[in-house]
Symmetry: none
DNA sequence: GAAAATGTTCCGTAAATCGGAAAAAGTAGT
DNA sequence: ACTACTTTTTCCGATTTACGGAACATTTTC
């Protein structure tokens, strides 16, 4: 074989081909896989054993193979999240440039928001989260923004279980929270002033897809003392516009596949 | 290295490790990846190039790598496909029992149909496809049935590029094909007699969802000599009814999730 | 139970892959 | 624009790995 630059790894290519085949055509048995890939059964057997050992492929009792939780976990959770971050990064950057504050991208997870991505303020006093960390959705601006887009049944469930108090500014009355969320929904953004950490606040808005399904939250997060000096309406419009822009961007990214 | 049975392929293991790492900790640059995996940078570079070439990894302008649409695609294929086959299997079975011929479930993919599922005839002479294989949409009955449900712009695109001839029975004139598709649309089923393989034909109909969006094609496929002995109108109605039943079933299956 | 089909292990050997070093490309600071 | 530094890519000798045919083992079918 000629040694050319840019050649790709044959074994890796074979593994990718096998996984893609199982994805489009699985379940398949060993002979079918070997035939379609035009490789020896011994070769196919070894590769399948390797992928089975890693839970990337599962073998059933009927001796057929299909994709396993290892790769499906990547495909269904990890890859979409990375795409979300990658696609939305320019919008987060722009919002950070405009405000100079810490920007968060979050997703709603049960009763919490999870911090998926952040751009940290360079100001001397700033607020920052840990990626992967969680905050109670009803106490922070990105949570409120996302809750305001929940389908009614899901919101009813959320409001039916006790709302914990973290600070004097936490909202713990379900009816009060419901009214608050209606305001957030109409206005397009949510404000939190010390609802979870007494000295931390933010302004957040929800990113929804073309079916109005909730995708994520974008928020500007800052020390309360600095938020108090800002025109919160203007900031809210800024964040809400960023979220709308994100929604459009996600639509554009999705539609070529239609 | 000792040659032991049950050893797994080192290169495949490295690729799996890399992809999992990108999923968990991505985006990462080449040096980070090489350090964490304790492999040479040259090795990491080659593997990343391979995965980038297959769209399983994408490289950003900032020289970081993250999971790509290829991995994402595994989930997209897997989820809708599994659902589709499972739900429609009883309808395919019934059609096979009634006709005794080979039944195909296909999806339109660009200018081709892809064979997603099949039930093979037990008659001594039969037609069969390979799951995952493709046939040109304009030359086979499930393709014609699905093309007849394409939105106008997509059909215009399809007709604007040359229609390849595979046999004397292939339709290669765009206006002729357009008229044919109008007939198919009105009638509810398509007939192919040797348009792709000279001795193979079929009768197909399209499965559409509640928004009249194209989902799949169902077809009865048989040797031409046997099709010639059948009442093609009756068969067409049978297939068209099966496709309608499939559409109803998919609606029912879809609405609890709404 | 026998035959056929399918899958696994063994082993010689060709092919593939490795990593260090050199070359190329990219970034940051002045 | 230039320079220094960092990161990535390419080259190539050498080693390792992975290949497939054949033998063997297991499972399925009649």
């Amino acid at each position: 074989m000629a040694r050319e630059s840019g050649e790709t790894l044959a074994t890796v290519n074979r593994a990718v081909t096998m996984l893609e085949m199982l994805g489009t055509s699985g379940p398949l048995n060993l002979s079918q896989i070997a035939d379609r890939m035009e490789i020896g059964k011994a070769t196919a057997s070894r590769m399948l054993q390797t992928l089975v050992a890693r839970d990337w492929v599962v073998r059933s009792a009927d001796r057929t193979y299909r994709l396993g939780p290892g790769v499906l976990g990547l495909a269904m959770w990890k890859a979409p999240q990375q795409h979300l971050i990658g696609d939305l990064r320019p919008i987060l950057d722009a919002l950070h440039d405009t405000t100079g504050e810490t920007i968060h991208l979050t997703r709603l997870d049960g009763r919490y928001v999870v911090y998926v991505e952040q751009i940290v303020s360079q100001l001397p006093v700033r607020s920052a989260a840990v990626i992967g960390a969680r905050s109670p959705a009803h106490c922070v601006s990105p949570g409120l923004a996302q809750l305001s887009h929940l389908p009614a049944e899901q919101l009813a469930w959320f409001l039916s279980t006790p709302l914990k108090r973290y600070t004097p500014a936490s909202t713990t009355n379900p009816e009060e929270l419901r009214r608050k969320l209606e305001t957030v929904r109409e206005r397009g953004y949510a404000v939190n002033l010390g609802g979870y950490r007494p000295d931390v606040g933010g302004v957040g808005a929800a990113v929804v897809d073309h079916n109005s399904q909730l995708v994520a939250g974008i928020s500007v997060c800052a020390p309360v003392y600095r938020l108090a000096t800002m025109d919160l309406d203007s900031l809210g419009v800024l964040v809400s516009d960023a979220a709308s822009e994100a929604s459009r961007l996600l639509d554009k990214a999705a539609s070529p596949h239609g």
